[in-house]
């Protein structure tokens, strides 16, 4: 395999569906090398796209992915921690321990491991951009969403501290928290409840995918090297 080492390499988690897939397709079309990962096979093909099947709740799988990136691509410029799970809305009183553990493993622990390994790779070029995908849930604190909300709040806090730890390495870390976007995943959510949560935003309609790429394009620009540790809520949550 011949890889063009002049192209920027972007890693996005959860790239087989939803926003992750849209981001992978978008940055492939922008001539980035995109490495995506998910439990299942790739759901699209592109000459710039390289897919890895893995379970991000298993550290060994994550280490293997980074070994592959180090070996085949030699660099990593951008990490987008997108993969997350959101169990059915359920009262905190009824949450089983295994559910709590699994959601934290995917939404928080995996994101932390991806940040750790990405930072080591980004150190090679003393530059990098890490985007952790957040949620308006962390702002609105919706009843029944305690588990998901607490994982996203943890990710917010982690991002702000990590930003301080890696700033000297030329790496920025930010959270982008989109308003709900119409995808096959959001279509499965209770639409009445979703509308109610959206009504708490300054902009009460669904967000657009272009809103997400607009802010990520801005954050990954070289000139955005002073923007770090920020939690950016799209739609005005």
């Amino acid at each position: 395999m011949i890889i063009d080492n002049s192209k920027k390499v972007l890693l996005v988690t959860g790239s087989s569906r939803g926003i992750g897939k849209l981001l992978a397709e978008y940055y492939c079309s922008r001539d980035f090398i995109v490495v995506g990962c998910s439990r299942g096979e790739a759901s699209f093909k592109h000459q710039n796209y390289f897919h890895v099947c893995l379970d991000i709740s298993i550290e060994k799988d994550i280490l293997e992915l980074f070994k592959y990136i180090r070996k085949d691509f030699k660099r990593l410029d951008i990490l987008i921690n997108n993969a997350a799970i959101n169990p059915a809305i359920l009262s905190s009183v009824l949450l089983p321990y295994n559910t709590i553990e699994n959601v934290f493993k995917v939404n928080v622990f995996a994101a932390m491991l991806f940040c750790r390994e990405a930072t080591k790779l980004m150190l090679r070029n003393k530059s990098g951009r890490i985007i952790n995908m957040g949620s308006m849930a962390a702002k609105h604190e919706v009843a029944g969403e305690a588990l998901y909300t607490s994982t996203k709040s943890a990710l917010n806090a982690y991002t702000r501290v990590l930003a301080k730890e890696v700033s000297q390495m030329g790496i920025t870390v930010n959270v982008v928290a989109p308003a709900a976007i119409k995808t096959e995943l959001s279509a499965k959510i209770n639409q009445v409840a979703l509308r109610e949560v959206l009504s708490r935003n300054a902009i009460q309609d669904f967000g657009q995918f272009a809103d997400v790429t607009n802010i990520i394009d801005f954050l990954v620009k070289t000139e955005s090297n002073a923007i770090t540790g920020q939690i950016i809520y799209l739609g005005g949550a």
Binding site: L63, K67, Q168, M169
Partner: protein, 95 residues
């Protein structure tokens, strides 16, 4: 390359990026972590990362130096070049 040579090669690589007064001395007694004249956190992270990469180049295996075992030891394996050398050897033997 033995482990000490690998650490020294990593120090050489790191020193390329450091100012003259920050350069790390290549001795087995060099303090890396936890004492007054040890490395700052950024230099230590850089050094550990370079060493991990060199181990992977040499052995084909990725070994995380800052693992649970390292965190639980009474004496940090990152204290000096010698403690780091011994720790790396123990990890390679365990692997």
């Amino acid at each position: 390359m033995n482990t000490l040579e690998l650490i020294f090669a990593s120090i050489d690589e790191l020193n390329l990026d450091l100012e003259e007064n920050e350069k790390i001395t290549k001795t087995e007694e060099t303090n890396l972590f936890g004492s007054g004249d040890s490395l700052d956190s950024l230099a230590l992270i850089n050094l550990i990362t370079i060493i991990e990469e060199k181990i992977e180049e040499e052995t084909g295996e990725y070994i995380s130096l800052a693992d649970e075992k390292a965190m639980s030891l009474d004496e940090s394996p990152f204290k000096t070049v010698t403690t780091l050398k011994n720790y790396i050897n123990s990890l390679i033997n365990d692997n």
